[in-house]
């Protein structure tokens, strides 16, 4: 059974000028137990807003529509009352920069015990013992529970933040740019840890990042977001070797590869403003393959393969479906 079903999530932010910004526009995806999915896109594409919506943690000026079904139950139905029992216990999150947001005046152990006691997972000595075990699980000696965040290095603080997110034994972990501020070697350590946790604990992981190579190495599949929408979703291997949306292809082409010799190309232009209505495909002004239809009609996500969907009119052109994918210039 699907663990998490996100259906047609829309988020609007009220702006001070009285208008609204449509940050997330009909996002849907499924997540199975133990699965690792990437949510990738440039800044402002709505990836963080999407997972905050799943957590029920949107700010007060946001309006939300859509369903988040956890084991079949729509947890958004009753607002905060129906989300709260699941937040941290079933769905947990590592915020961007969490490693720098630890409480400096409390020991790391105390900070892991707190959510456990708050949610009635464990108390007193049992909680302390569990905190030590969690620290060991993320690669920190249990005795370090008595230490303060400033005594930890960056990598250890990120590990502690992961331990905190795991305090209530969640089934789903949402990680927002968990390695962005870290060095490559520490990044490799943290990614190895996250993959290990997903495999050993059966934890489902959503990795939110702008870094395609990280997703390519960690996740089985990914959703690519642009201007508030998922424009392509599919197995990682398909996205790289057979991209069916020009944005996915261009995003890979803009990412230098260690051993790649091909030219690295930027994508001209900027993403559209989301406080105005967009006519046609939101990527059309920056697309290198746009044609007449793209400026008038919004493409819908359509199946283009097994577990692979893309929102691009090119996929409707028969000759394009035969030729495009393979010669995306990425091979």
């Amino acid at each position: 059974m699907t663990l998490l079903e996100v259906r047609d999530i829309n988020v609007w932010f009220d702006l001070p000028e009285g208008n609204q910004l449509h940050a997330v526009q009909g996002v849907s995806f499924d997540l199975d137990p133990g699965e690792r999915m990437g949510l990738v896109g440039e800044s402002g594409c709505g990836k963080t807003t999407t997972i905050l919506a799943v957590m029920g943690l949107l700010p007060a000026n946001a309006q939300l529509a859509g369903e988040v079904r956890l084991d079949g139950e729509n947890i958004l139905e009753g607002g905060e009352d129906t989300v709260r029992p699941h937040r941290w216990k079933d769905i947990s999150m590592i915020f961007q920069g969490a490693m720098n947001a630890l409480n400096p005046v409390k020991t790391v152990g105390t900070q892991i015990v707190e959510p456990m006691e708050l949610h009635g997972v464990a108390e007193g000595n049992a909680a302390k013992l569990a905190a030590g075990e969690l620290l060991e699980l993320v690669g920190i000696p249990a005795r370090a529970a008595a230490r303060y965040p400033h005594e930890f290095s960056g990598g250890m603080r990120q590990r502690a933040a992961i331990a905190m997110a795991l305090a209530c034994q969640p089934k789903i972990l949402l990680a927002d740019e968990p390695t962005t501020a870290l060095d490559v070697m520490v990044q490799a350590q943290i990614l190895e840890l996250l993959v290990g946790l997903a495999q050993d604990l059966g934890l489902a992981l959503i990795l939110v990042t702008h870094d395609l190579p990280v997703v390519a190495q960690v996740c089985e599949r990914a959703s690519v977001m642009y201007a508030g929408k998922i424009i392509e979703i599919g197995p990682m291997d398909e996205l790289f070797h057979n991209p069916r949306h020009p944005y996915t292809r261009l995003l890979f082409a803009a990412t230098p590869d260690l051993y790649g010799d091909e030219e690295v190309l930027s994508i001209p232009g900027t993403p559209p403003r989301l406080d105005r209505d967009i006519v046609g495909c939101p990527f059309q002004p920056r697309c290198d393959s746009a044609f007449d239809r793209c400026s008038v009609e919004l493409p819908e996500l359509k199946s283009v393969g097994v577990g692979h969907e893309a929102a691009c009119h090119l996929n409707d052109l028969v000759e394009a479906t035969a030729g495009r994918g393979g010669e995306g210039g990425l091979g």
Binding site: P213, V214, L250, L258
Partner: protein
């Protein structure tokens, strides 16, 4: 002294064009930049108790014997993890901090010996591009003003019209085109990429010979990074400018730099032509570092060689080879012998590594 410096700065660009072949002097022309055995240390605060107890001052060796050179038209990348000394090396090159020993020769002149007043005319020819274009541009200045500002600070000759011409020229070179569209805008009206282009334009108006770019794209979105890097690449390919790029991103360095110098704890542990260093790494640290760089292709899941722990504190640099406590192939003698850079491959005389095992 201070009089002949501006003259030198003025004559430098034409000299640069013929840099490939020796000009007047029979001797080899001095490279644009030559850093020799550079050492930079920072004092550690002792604190009140330490001062009362007269504890000895402690020093962090941020840069501990770094040597490299750069010619006009070249781009060299200093890569390494945080704390490896790459930014300290750059700051010493710009005299933002003073070196303890060693020399930094710019066009053959040692700038470490200059008084700050004497440095001033030279600062025109050494420009820096910072990581964060949101911070390096004054929010109250229009783009045109921000780009003109360095000329006013350095009292560049010429009237308003001449300066306007230079500003427009720099904007075109930095890819802010058409200039009239951007010249009167404020930084907040620009995207991140455009802001970094404005910062680059501001560094170009003084016609620098040496550009130091400290993580120039790490704050920018993936889709615009390539544009900024291609811009820098084009600037140095005119042959008049040399670029030192500081980055933690090995993929970027491999793509855009001619040479890569890998730093670890204040030392260059391996350096050579970029492709050589990336495809045929010799130092165990370089090998490990390259192995953990995530690859774009999901099929390319080679097993990363993850080193445990993090870079040690530069206050207590390990004896012998500074990498030996984390090195997967260290031998007993690595604990005592401090390895020096030496040529490691027979076919490439410029490829050096500091490891006694290679």
């Amino acid at each position: 002294m201070s009089q002949d410096l501006p003259a030198q700065a003025a004559t430098a660009p034409p000299e640069g064009e013929g840099a490939g072949d020796a000009p007047d002097e029979p001797a080899k022309p001095s490279p644009l930049l030559e850093v020799r055995d550079l050492h930079t240390t920072y004092p550690i605060r002792r604190g009140m108790i330490g001062a009362i107890r007269r504890r000895p001052h402690q020093w962090v060796s941020a840069v501990d014997g770094v040597s490299f050179s750069l010619d006009r038209g070249e781009m060299v990348a200093l890569v390494g993890e945080s704390g490896c000394g790459k930014t300290s090396t750059a700051q010493t090159m710009l005299r933002m901090v003073d070196s303890k020993s060693g020399s930094i020769l710019v066009n053959g002149q040692d700038i470490t010996k200059l008084e700050h007043k004497e440095m001033r005319p030279l600062r025109k020819s050494i420009q820096m591009i910072y990581q964060d274009p949101y911070e390096s541009l004054d929010p109250r200045f229009r783009v045109g003003q921000a780009i003109e500002e360095p000329m006013l600070i350095h009292h560049v000759e010429g009237n308003d019209e001449k300066r306007h011409e230079i500003v427009v020229g720099a904007m075109v070179r930095a890819g802010l085109t058409p200039p009239e569209l951007y010249i009167d805008r404020y930084p907040h009206e620009l995207s991140g990429g455009q802001r970094q282009r404005a910062a680059i334009a501001a560094s170009l108006v003084l016609d620098p010979e040496l550009l130091v770019a400290d993580e120039p794209v790490s704050m920018l979105d993936v889709s615009v990074r390539a544009g900024i890097l291609t811009l820098l690449d084009g600037l140095r390919r005119t042959g008049k400018m040399g670029i030192v790029m500081i980055t933690h991103d090995l993929s970027t360095a491999a793509h855009f730099a001619d040479r890569i110098a890998v730093m670890y704890l204040g030392r260059i542990v391996e350096q050579g032509p970029a492709k050589q260093v990336v495809r045929n790494p010799q130092h165990p640290y370089t090998k490990a570092l390259l192995s953990v760089v995530p690859k774009r292709d999901p099929r390319d899941r080679s097993v990363p060689q993850i080193l445990q722990g993090e870079t040690p504190n530069p206050v207590n640099i390990p004896p012998g080879c500074r990498f030996h406590p984390r090195c997967p192939v260290a031998e007993a003698r690595c604990q005592t012998i401090d390895p020096q850079l030496h040529v490691v491959t027979s076919d490439e005389p410029e490829h050096e590594a500091a490891c006694i095992l290679v």
